[in-house]
Subunit: 752 residues, 2 copies
């Protein structure tokens, strides 16, 4: 099958005649295609504006150049064989993208060569598909036919449906019949009826599956298939204990179909429980199908479903990105994924077009410098042309998790160049990490205190076929791989999905009204049964400091004495510590399991109490970490990379503060971004911490108070009410003979 | 002394009156100041053009804003106390820069406040200076008074001289008398007569010292002081065996003075033997004094000295930078130093103004986006305004080393995005590294195969006071820290400056006429007595490859059997190797001395022969290294960082190919930049090597031949004549029954 199709020019001619006749016969029909994503009316308007809408024109020219070259080179529809990264996988992937683009080009330019290209390719698939066995690569719980997993087959169908819609009227009824009979219906059946464990669940995989079936159903106007897409396959029982390759349950509660996938993983705030990396991935099918349903089944009001959650999701996702547009790392996520991804270009355009023309979205579209080639993209291009855009200002925001918004949240605190992401969510389905109350810190779009992300090199074939590496389970998901509390060297929920997926953290405080002191606080009481954790992260703006700084307080209360580890994954090189430590001649392996086996202990010390301070340099910026310790605490300087036989892990540093054999304790620390270094002028500005000391000056069941003294001897006390988060309650407390009184769940006061 | 000077307004008034009178009295004099850097005529022209020369106007506005703020804040002239990075050091450093700028602002704007600022500050120094002991910090071989080393005192005087010149006519004769008697003359004497070990030598330190004395001599028109600057202090004997803090000889051959510093370290091509990092540092005093002499002593023809070597040096330095303008790392050098440094702004402007208005320099000035505020800067600003600039095209170039250009060279091969820097120079004075025949490779301005540079964080006080760290000696200078041959785990020349500084490598071939095959080849026969090294680096452009690739051949011939290590300092993360290796549970320390004690052996294997291949990812680009091995060779994957108790070293990787117990051998390898990865689209393009095999197919005393087979089964043979580098000689050789004949020292031929 690996041969190159080139159409002799005689056939071109014949097809052209057929085409010309057909154009006339359908031109006035109300049901004429395209009507799925691109619409007949949209095409008309696009044509009228061509040449005067720069961002659209540019995108279109790029697509045309690309497709023209492919047409010239001829295409290949090879027998499926490879995992991702391999030839057949990448070829089929490229084919569906090209078909979709060629379909659009056909509509916009009305040039037959594009229709022919799509038609020929679809027929090549129609010829091959009935002969295909299940894909030979065995790794997936739901194997496709073109690809090793149904997920990729679904991708194919989502795009191919759009291409089919674009050339629908170009084809004869017989031709459509062949394609639908030999290709589209059996294709839709394979990813649904043949694989209910893939199709009938709540998961980004199933979203793609549902949408794939739904899109082709809409083009073929097959209502029974559409019902399957919207509500799942009826009358099928799936073993509730079944799990997928990632260790997630297939379907524990029987929920299924597109609407279930919309209801369940999205919170009312538009947060998708797997996290932004997969939200980005799922947004494309959600929104493209939303757009299609809006066009063809407006009565379903899909974009208004659940109070407009699909459109809210776009806003949530944009808010889940750093200053450069890179998504925050929550659960499985690859670094560098950003709102420049194609699915976000489509999301932003759809959000603008169908969501009330929010001018802030235009500024994102302008940065993306690309639009989708349809009605939505046209609307954006016209909006930009008319100069309507306003800056998209990212503010501090709390995004609830859970279908009803009551399963914790992500709290994002922003001030100046600093962005702090604090995670107190539900588990995040099969892509979840065991890192309740973890956080990450960004400065000017650079990750300074990192979330490791996932152990995977997506589509880099030489790294495990581009798939999840075993270190994703043994390292990246484990609690110690995060800036989160680990008790007794065992991951939260024992690192077990069955347990973790039952629980979520709880919001406690989220207060951002005063830009000088923003507070996010949350509780976790299930990660370690018998142990209660309350973490409070405060972003403080103080004119004595170059940048806003972070105060981090973790109150731990347990029924039993335990060891508590708090890792701090700073990125960069150590400049200085204020403590003496022993650096080992060769590093030691930190532990045996739960991710500890992947850490090298490079140096350590036993604290005599007081503050420890770490000063480091990252990308020519200076940072400092100042933490309270008690006599006997261990401070460990470690590096990722042990038990990593194929160098799959990034060898990056951490500082672990270890408190041993204690029931109740408080971790308190401050993180500062102090200044900059220029290797050109060789000037170091504000290279050191401005914190003279930090101290826990009060700690009871009801209150915890932290005193901060700056280098200028300014003394401040932060107090949090540990039991009562009411905003109106009045509190009074005597700390070191100072009486403090305030209203609400916390206060920060300068004292003498 | 640490008090803030603020002048009451009454004094302002008085001075203003004095000023007004004086203006008249000197206005027509032919000797009027300024005449050192800024000239009276230049000032006139600058004033005439203000407001219409954007780059100049912008720089001027920036300087004015800065100085105005400082005037408002008042200045401080503290009692000297600190090392670099500390308060008094940074304050005095800032003061001289501000004085120089304020002097210029006074001239251009004719606003008295600037003259007052300079005058007050100079008088504060004049008041303090006679009271100062030697600086209290003891680390330098030549301690200053304002700073811990005479070097920084010299910096001060170079700038202060310019400031003095700018307000010379503003001062009364009595005022000038006080400044010259209490400050400038004793200052000049301290850095010269009091410290001949600093002043009377050939070194960048002495250049600053000579120029400092020379500049103030020119302003004061003190010919005897000028003679001291130009030719050194007469009748002083310095112990020839004395060394400075860096381990370099103070003065072994009695050469001294500005002209000696110009004659000795610069090659006829303008390469400065310490390397571009220090050339950048030395260029400022060289050129600023050159400019001053040109203005005040044109009969000396300093810019024509040694066939115009000062101006050639500017061109050499620009060619020693990568695509982003960052200087190549040769010898002691901090990463990130670039032609955006202030001394290069001045160099480019002086080069343009005094060197024949080369329009290519304007394109660099435009990138720098700043000019010097004097006649030279005006010329550049006018050139840019008139649109005269042409691109500065960096080509392949060989820059000879040594006063007579016969002590080896640096060979730079450029093709496409690739830049290869091959070092076969002399030692580089006290800043030299023991890395004969080492290289580094850059791709689009990113260092891919690195030179470690120096172990120092300049001006970052918390890292050893910002000074050289002990790891600079124990690691950075050692041979194993470089991409260079190490014999028997001992550094070249035993890592001894006394030996290394006596020798240099020798050029063998430098051929860049054919852009498809560029060759740099050099010999080293002194690094290891009894062992001869011939390294040949070839940059090959082949349309089958995405980028030009590097062929690297090292021929080793020795009188005795040895172990040879060839490190390969790739930067990035391993994606794949084609060889099995054992990764140790914990890393081992590679050796005991000569830098080996700083390397962790993480993994290794014993080769059975054939090619080893390493595929890695750096900044979303894929690279491959393919090397010939023999049965029994050891392949070591190592990381920097052992015996580094303060985390002073960057923990970066290397692959070491180790050949044991052999007299003669050949190392042959290929480095490719194959393709790119996008974390946004998650596409990996051309992620793997295009080399099927590389083989040494012939090796004799006279010839070495390497066969390259690509994945497309294209076979090529590269042959080098090892003994005869004549370009015209005809050669004939039979390799595997193929007869090859060619003219010149090498050939690359496709064979069947």
């Amino acid at each position: 099958m690996k041969k190159v199709f080139k159409r002799p020019s005689i056939i071109l001619l014949i097809v052209f005649i057929v085409f010309s006749c057909k154009e006339k016969s359908t031109i006035n029909s109300q049901l004429q295609h395209p009507n799925l994503i691109l619409t007949k009316q949209g095409v008309k308007e696009i044509r009228a504006n061509l040449g005067s809408i720069p961002i659209f024109d540019k995108t279109l020219a790029k697509a045309q150049t690309e497709v023209d070259l492919e047409i010239k080179n001829g295409f290949d529809v090879p027998i499926p064989k490879d995992y991702s990264g391999g030839y057949t996988h990448e070829k089929h992937k490229n084919n569906y993208v090209l078909m979709q683009k060629a379909g659009v080009l056909y509509q916009i330019f009305n040039e037959e060569k594009y229709a022919i290209y799509v038609k020929d390719m679809l027929f090549a698939y129609a010829k091959m598909y009935p002969t295909l066995p299940i894909h030979p690569k065995p790794r997936s719980y739901a194997r496709g036919k073109l690809f090793w997993q149904c997920l990729n087959d679904s991708n194919w169908l989502v795009y191919a449906s759009q291409a089919y819609d674009c050339i629908y009227d170009y084809l004869t009824k017989d031709e459509r019949n062949i394609l639908e009979t030999d290709l589209f219906r059996p294709f839709a059946d394979h990813i649904s009826k043949d694989n209910p464990q893939f199709f009938n669940r709540v998961h980004n995989h199933s979203t793609w599956g549902n949408v794939a079936v739904g899109m082709i159903a809409l083009v073929m106007e097959d209502d029974s298939l559409l019902q399957r897409a919207l509500y799942g396959i009826k009358n099928i029982d799936i073993d509730k204990s079944l799990k997928d390759n990632d260790g997630g349950f297939i379907n524990k509660d029987g929920k299924k179909g597109f609407f279930a996938n919309l209801d369940e993983p999205f919170s009312p705030d538009g947060y998708y429980t797997e996290g932004p990396y997969y939200q980005r991935y799922a947004m494309y099918p959600f929104l493209i199908f939303g757009q299609a349903l809006q066009n063809k089944k407006p009565d379903l009001k899909v974009l208004k479903h659940k109070d407009g959650v699909l459109l809210k999701g776009i806003d949530a996702l944009l808010n889940l990105s750093d200053a450069d547009g890179d998504f925050f790392l929550l659960n499985d996520a690859q670094k560098g994924m950003s709102y420049f991804n194609g699915s976000l270009i489509s999301a932003v355009d759809i959000g603008y077009h169908f969501g009330g023309n929010n001018p802030e979205l235009l500024s994102i579209a302008k940065k993306q410098d690309e639009v989708v080639l349809d009605d939505a993209g046209l609307a954006v291009a016209l909006g930009i042309k008319k100069g309507k855009e306003k800056p998209f200002v990212k503010k501090s925001i709390e995004l609830s998790d859970g279908a009803n918004g009551d399963e914790g949240a992500v709290g994002i605190l922003r001030s100046g160049e600093m962005e702090l992401v604090f995670k107190y969510t539900a588990h995040g389905l099969s892509h979840g990490h065991y890192d309740k109350l973890s956080f990450a810190l960004f400065d000017e779009g650079n990750e300074v205190v990192q979330d490791y992300g996932m152990a995977r090199f997506v589509n880099i074939e030489q790294k495990g076929g581009g798939n999840y590496l075993k270190e994703n389970t043994t390292w990246a998901k484990q609690s110690i791989a995060h800036n989160a509390i680990v008790q007794n060297e065992v991951s939260q929920f024992h690192g077990k999905y069955d347990i973790g997926s039952k629980h979520h953290s709880n919001k406690y405080i989220f207060s951002t009204g005063d830009s000088n002191i923003q507070v996010a606080s949350a509780k976790e009481e299930n990660a370690y049964p018998g142990t209660k954790l309350l973490r409070t992260m405060v972003l403080i703006k103080d004119s004595d400091f170059h940048n806003p700084y972070v105060l981090d307080i973790i109150k731990v209360e347990s029924d039993n004495p335990n060891q508590y580890d708090l890792p701090f994954y700073y990125l960069g090189q150590i400049m200085q510590t204020n403590f003496e430590y022993t650096k080992y001649e060769v590093p030691q392996i930190l532990g045996k399991s739960d991710g500890y086996q992947h850490l090298y202990k490079e140096a350590s010390t036993i604290s005599k109490g007081g503050n420890i301070k770490l000063n480091w340099l990252l990308k020519n910026k200076f940072y400092s970490y100042t933490a309270v310790t008690s006599n006997g605490d261990e401070v460990i300087l470690a590096k990722i990379g042990a038990n990593d036989p194929e160098f799959n892990l990034r060898q990056e540093p951490t500082l672990i503060l270890r408190k041993k054999n204690i029931r109740n304790t408080v971790f308190a620390s401050i993180i500062e971004s102090t200044g900059v270094y220029s290797p050109v002028s060789e000037l170091a500005i504000n290279s050191k911490s401005n914190i003279k000391s930090i101290e826990i000056v009060f700690n009871s069941k009801d209150y915890t108070a932290i005193q901060i003294v700056t280098n200028k001897d300014k003394k401040m006390v932060f107090v949090i009410s540990n039991q009562n988060n009411n905003k109106e309650t009045k509190h009074k407390l005597i700390i070191n003979n100072n009486e403090m009184s305030w209203r609400g769940s916390f206060t920060l006061k300068e004292i003498n």
